[in-house]
């Protein structure tokens, strides 16, 4: 059957691997990378506790902090992309057809280009002696580096820059279906521009907003490039921590446990995303 190859490929090289990773998280780590035979829930314990010299468990929030930071950064990135993306989508939808098409295309181009390069480009701007600092030095406003790079700010900026197209596109899609007659009707009823947006536009394109938020949140949560390029590896996010376990730290079971945690969070997000999409279909 024609379906076979696609389904089998994804099943064999994605579904089974995730399952295997889950199994790995319950096995002892091999200090040379990989796992040893046997059963162990050490990796899951490690999420919360540290083993003291006498083998007693001490609560250790260091990993939870990283997970917490990932969530906070993802939420902030989502809020920022929404705050910026909504007006932009609103602007695009009001343009004449030709211009609308062009602007949309301009929004999509960065989405299809390499994230690595786009993050790197920000180093040129934010970095020491970058496009921001240099003129400030020249004007004598600052005399030492602003240290814009390698912090939460730079990571957050990278997340927003990476994923804002995914906020604009679904919002645009729902705005486009909006009946502009409704807006005119509202204006006709003496509603001010602001209240038209609040009372009519936002409620009607809520599915698009929710879809955009979930997409940006899920992708930001699992983002690897912004923290490792713009965070300089100092401020880790969940992905960096995972990647670290599979490389230098050689603790695959712990990496597996972290991945499972990420997958659960993303799974919840995706569940809501599909629900929202389903609702949208129903409305149609």
């Amino acid at each position: 059957m024609g379906l076979g190859p696609a389904i089998l490929t994804i099943f064999a090289f994605m579904v089974i691997p995730i399952f295997i990773l889950g199994v790995f998280s319950f096995m002892p780590a091999d200090p040379y990378g990989g796992v040893d035979k046997g059963f162990s829930y050490e990796a899951w314990v490690q999420l919360f506790f540290e083993r003291d010299l006498d083998d007693s468990l001490i609560f250790d929030p260091v990993y939870l902090q990283i997970i917490f930071r990932s969530i906070v950064l993802a939420v902030l990135a989502t809020i920022t992309t929404l705050a910026v993306g909504f007006p932009v989508a609103w602007y695009i939808v009001q343009q004449p057809a030709k211009k609308r098409e062009l602007l949309l295309f301009l929004v999509t181009i960065p989405f299809w280009t390499n994230l690595l390069i786009r993050a790197y480009a920000w180093i040129l701007i934010l970095g020491k002696n970058g496009m921001i600092e240099k003129p400030l030095y020249g004007l004598g406003i600052i005399d030492e580096s602003l240290e814009l790079m390698y912090g939460n700010l730079a990571i957050g900026l990278g997340l927003v820059y990476s994923y804002i197209p995914l906020m604009i596109l679904p919002i645009y899609a729902s705005l486009e279906k909006l009946d502009f007659g409704l807006i005119e009707a509202a204006h006709d009823l003496y509603a001010k521009r602001y209240s038209v947006i609040r009372k009519i536009v936002i409620p009607l394109c809520l599915p698009g907003i929710i879809a955009g938020c979930i997409l940006v949140f899920v992708l930001s949560l699992g983002d690897f490039i912004s923290p490792s390029i713009l965070g300089g590896g100092k401020k880790m996010m969940l992905s960096n921590l995972i990647q670290f376990q599979f490389s230098s730290a050689r603790n695959w079971p712990f990496g597996g446990a972290l991945t499972m945690l990420l997958l659960i969070m993303v799974g919840i997000g995706s569940f809501f995303y599909i629900r929202v999409l389903g609702k949208r279909e129903e409305i149609k």
């Binding site: 990773l21 299809w112 390499n114 994230l115 040129l124 002696n129 699992g222």
Partner: protein, 269 residues
Amino acid sequence: MKNLSSKRKSINWLKIFSNTFFVYLYAPIAVLIIYSFNDNRIAQVWTAFSTKWYLKAFNNEDIQRAIINSLKVAGVATIVATLFATMAALVLSSKRFRGHGISNAIISLPLLVPEIATAVATLSFFAAIEFPLGLTSIIIAHIVFCIPFAFMPIRARLSGMDQTLQEAGRDLYANEWQVFWHVTFPLLKPGILAGAILSFIISIDDFIISLMVAGAGATTLPLYIYSMIRLGVSPEINAVSTVLFCISVTAIIAYWLVSKQNEEKVHVH
């Protein structure tokens, strides 16, 4: 009328905001490209126009190898993923059957799983079955996540296709195979092309998954760029990045043109 004229006088904040946004979206890329033509070795200090970093990059054997690896991976992954996706789309669009929904879900799974999870899961899998890491392992991983990207435009094209065209073919003495060859396939071709372009873009840009499943000597272009970035800012990175950026943009423009043509051709009336 009054409303209109007063609107014209007041400052259009929305427009200013949006234009600023587009500047924000493209300024970093513009800076990257401009400084790739900078003669100065210190990337942020502009001295004169020069293409020497491009020449230098292209004469770098490691970069040459990385580009060739990237093209090999993207080429093979694109062909296989597009073939698989086309076959799946043809089945999924023809009739509803048991397992229809679950098949669709499995095909879109790679879109939902975060890349880092895919990366480490694939790595664990290859370790578990003791599959050697190298170009082959990268290609397999790429095929997996390229399938849904190839699938989407093909599926869209098929569902927009007038089913009676196939019936017209059968009515006019073409058997199943001839109908596929003379009617379905020619009409599907732009969709297949669009799917292949998306696969190619996604594959050539991939970084994290390649990072985890690449063995020694299987460095792709994004992996090479990453290793350079870790050493610090340099005009050579700008040049290589610009090249990669141009490949993506060329492909996305090609995709756009193809899908525009799609829209025009499906509907006769």
